[in-house]
Structure formats: structure tokens, C-alpha cells
């Protein structure tokens, strides 16, 4: 059972990397800053390195959410298995339906749901859950968005050059941000490794604790860290090929300066949160930054419909995955037959997802999750912008 859960967890880690390469590397590839092959390899290596940087988030997952150990409630590998299945199945459902969803929240939701159904509501440490998962989930994207807004404003203000006498534009060389994007997107990949790989480490550690082979309250062992790091890096590398095929279909209109600001904010937000053990969704933080930086450009407005859809998917995932996790836990409770049914269903789901993703046409809608966030900001046409500027100038003359 323990081995099965570990294998499943590592596979979950792999799909996570597979899914999220695009978030970090899509913009620099689109603006032509790096060649696709180099970008994908770079992202994989940085995910690997990032996974070794910290273990705070892993400790949150293994020690904070479900009460464990002798004084708490005994959590069993079966429950973790059910939770993981819930997460994988929910991921599969949202992926098929094209709903924006966070695999991290699916993981927590599944685990919590399974624990409630399998052990009882008292097994969940709600205080820690609130403080380390739910609050950061709500605030981190907002923080990242706000910071990205400020940074985009700053980047444009600092690089705008006008002739003091004629007021005409001078050369601004904003293309220079393209080179900078290589570094900021690398940092995003690094941050992704630190936060997301650790969630899997936490799960495996939790299994080992539940099985009695590790002390409750201790951090992940080295082989766990290494295995998770490699799983996410391989996943990233494998997933990268999808982006390369996608690049022809065009991305949101993200200017280098804007992308630079957004990525700098994303990376700082994730790294700062990881340091304090907050487990958050990298996709959502990146989406927050993209929206924020879009608003920081002149003449933009929010498409509330799209933004609302992102927000709904964002709030919905945790309870929904919880329900799936709870159902799986009930199934597993019925005995060995239930375990086998759940295992077959879960493995089948993962395989189906993988096969589908290989053969289906990859459009930008399913390869780049942040894309949707980019579309949530409407850009005014150049002409309208010029007209409004002229209007302002005339008003100023009076």
C-alpha cells in the first residue's frame, strides 16, 4: 500500500510539472528571448534545483493539515491513497472540461475530504488549514497582482523617454526586457520547483509517518526530496514539447516589460510564501500577476466575465476535490475490493489523460493556463489610445 501511494504521488508530481512548464516559459519563448528547446531544458533543471531549496511547504503538508502521531488521530496510508485518488480524478475531470483548476488545491481538497470521510471531521487541523492553505490561496494571487501592477507602472515610467522640448518620443529600447525575461522566467521555474515539488514530498512523508516508518513531525527524508525533484523535472521536460507545438497559435499580447514585471512578482511571491511554509497554487499566483501587470499598462480594463470564471474555478476546487476524495475514502473503507477498484480507476484516469494529451490537438487554451488570465484584461486599440491621449493633451492646454 505504501509503495503504491508513493508511486501515485510521484506520478502526481510528474503531471504537475507536465502541466505547468508553460506558465513559466511561455512568455520568453513567445517574445523570442530563448529558443524553445533551451527554455524547456532550463525550466526542467531549475525545477530540479528548486525542489532542493526548502522543505517548509512539505512540513506544512505532512505535519500541519491532518493531525498525526500518537496523541492525534492515526492516519492510515489508505486515507492518503483515497485523498490522492480524489485529487487525480478531480484534476482529470477539470482537465477534460477545460476548467481552470489548481492541482495543489485538488491535492489538499482530496486529502481533507478523505480524512473527514475516513476518520471523522475532528481529524483535520482546521486552524492550520486556514492559516497555511486557505488564506494564502486567497491572498497570494491578490498580493502578486498588486505588486505586478506597481512594477509594470514603474517599469514603464522609468523607461519612457520624451524629448524635453518637442515632447516627441525618444528611443526607449524596451526590447531590453526580453533578455531580462530569461532570468525572471527562470526564477519562476525555480519557484515552481520549490513550492510544487514540496507538496508531493509532504504527501510521501505523511505516508511514511502513517505507516510508522518515520517519526511524526519530522521533515522529508533525502531520498524523498530527490525522487520528487526528479519527478517534477522530468515532467517539466516532457510537458515542454507541448508548448513548442503551441507557439504558432499566438499568445496574449504581453509586452516584454510587462512580462518582466509580472514574472518578477510571481517569483518573489511564490518564493516568499514557500519560505514561510505557505502551500499555494503557482498557477493562480501567475494568473494574478498577469492580470495585475495587464492593468498596469495604459488603456486597459478587466474583462470581468473571464476573471470571474477564473475566480470560481479557484474557489471551487478545494471542496469539489474534497467530495471526490471523500467518496474514494468510503470506497476504500469497504475493503480490499474497494482499494482495487479505486486504484484501477485512478491509474486508468491518469493513463487516459496522458494518452489524450499526446494525441489531442494542443491549442493555447489547454497548454497555457495563464493564458486565460491574460485574456481577462482588455487592451484598448492603439488608435483609441492615441485619441484619448490627444484629448488629454488638449484638455491640458486650456
Amino acid at each position: 500500500m505504501v509503495a503504491l501511494v508513493i508511486a501515485l504521488a510521484l506520478f502526481f508530481d510528474f503531471t504537475n510539472g507536465f502541466h505547468d512548464t508553460a506558465n513559466a516559459m511561455a512568455t520568453p519563448i513567445a517574445t523570442g528571448a530563448i529558443k524553445p528547446k533551451t527554455a524547456v531544458a532550463l525550466a526542467a533543471v531549475l525545477n530540479l534545483v528548486g525542489a532542493f531549496l526548502s522543505t517548509e511547504v512539505a512540513k506544512t503538508v505532512s505535519g500541519g493539515i491532518i493531525k498525526e502521531g500518537s496523541d492525534g488521530i492515526q492516519i492510515t496510508p489508505d486515507i492518503i491513497f483515497a485523498g490522492l485518488m480524489g485529487a487525480i480524478l478531480w484534476n482529470m475531470i477539470t482537465w477534460l472540461k477545460g476548467l481552470p483548476s489548481s492541482s495543489s488545491h485538488a491535492l489538499f481538497g482530496g486529502l481533507i475530504g478523505a480524512a473527514i470521510a475516513g476518520i471523522g471531521i475532528h481529524s483535520v487541523n482546521f486552524e492550520s488549514l486556514m492559516q497555511k492553505v486557505i488564506l494564502p490561496a486567497i491572498f497570494a494571487p491578490v498580493i502578486a497582482g498588486g505588486v505586478a501592477y506597481v512594477c509594470t507602472r514603474l517599469a514603464y515610467a522609468l523607461t519612457s523617454r520624451h524629448d524635453p522640448e518637442t515632447g516627441s518620443k525618444l528611443t526607449q529600447k524596451r526590447g531590453g526586457f526580453r533578455t531580462g525575461q530569461i532570468f525572471t522566467s527562470s526564477l519562476v521555474a525555480l519557484a515552481h520547483g520549490t513550492n510544487d515539488a514540496q507538496k508531493t514530498m509532504g504527501i510521501i512523508t505523511l505516508v511514511l509517518i502513517a505507516a510508522g516508518t518515520q517519526q511524526p513531525g519530522s521533515g522529508p527524508q533525502f531520498w524523498v526530496i530527490a525522487a520528487c525533484a526528479f519527478a517534477i523535472a522530468i515532467g517539466t521536460y516532457a510537458g515542454g514539447w507541448r508548448i513548442i507545438r503551441t507557439m504558432g497559435s499566438g499568445l496574449t499580447d504581453v509586452k516584454p516589460a510587462q512580462g518582466f514585471a509580472a514574472e518578477a512578482s510571481t517569483a518573489s511571491a511564490i518564493l516568499a510564501s514557500s519560505h514561510l511554509g505557505f502551500a499555494l497554487s503557482t498557477t493562480q499566483v501567475a494568473s494574478g500577476s498577469v492580470i495585475g501587470s495587464g492593468l498596469g499598462r495604459k488603456g486597459t480594463s478587466v474583462r470581468w466575465g473571464t476573471a470571474g470564471r477564473i475566480a470560481v474555478g479557484w474557489l471551487f476546487t478545494l471542496p469539489a476535490a474534497g467530495i471526490v476524495g471523500a467518496l474514494t475514502a468510503l470506497l476504500v473503507k469497504t475493503g480490499i475490493v474497494g482499494v482495487i477498484i479505486a486504484a484501477v480507476a485512478g491509474t486508468g484516469a491518469v493513463l487516459f489523460m496522458f494518452v489524450q494529451s499526446r494525441k489531442s490537438h494542443v491549442g493555447h487554451h489547454n497548454a497555457v493556463e495563464v493564458e486565460e488570465a491574460g485574456q481577462a484584461v482588455r487592451f484598448r486599440k492603439k488608435k483609441a489610445l492615441a485619441a484619448s491621449r490627444a484629448h488629454k493633451l488638449n484638455g491640458g492646454d486650456k
Binding site: S54, A140, I143, V147, R161, A257, A267, A269, L271, A272
Partner: protein
């Protein structure tokens, strides 16, 4: 209290991102001034730009240094 930690995250994010973006933007501006074909710019302008990029890179490395537990032990 965890609200304090959230404020900490917000503050650290703002500080780090603004530092990196400002330094890089100033660097880009200096590059633009140095490379302007219409106005002759002093030669040290170019080196000033590189200093800004360098500082930006150092800021990033310093941030990573603060985060990685290996160094702070």
C-alpha cells in the same frame, strides 16, 4: 498570528519585485540613452547600464541566499 506572516509575504514580495524591476528598468533606460543615435551620450552611460544590470542580478542572488536554509544555518 498568521496575518503577520501574510503581511510579511506581501512586504517581501513587494520589496523584492520592485527592487529587481526598478534596477533593471533603470538599466534599460541607460542602455537606451547610450544607444540613442540622435543624441550623443557620454561613454560611461553604457557602463552605468551594466552596473544596474549587475546590481539587479546581485539583488536576486541575495534574495535566494536569504531563502535557502543551507546558508542561514
Amino acid at each position: 498570528m498568521k496575518w503577520l506572516e501574510l503581511v510579511q509575504v506581501a512586504g517581501a514580495t513587494l520589496l523584492a519585485a520592485v527592487t529587481v524591476v526598478v534596477l533593471y528598468s533603470v538599466g534599460v533606460r541607460f542602455t537606451a540613452i547610450a544607444g540613442d543615435p540622435e543624441q550623443a551620450a557620454p561613454r560611461w552611460m553604457k557602463s552605468l547600464a551594466y552596473v544596474c544590470f549587475g546590481l539587479c542580478g546581485l539583488a536576486v542572488l541575495f534574495g535566494l541566499y536569504l531563502i535557502i536554509p543551507y546558508f542561514s544555518k
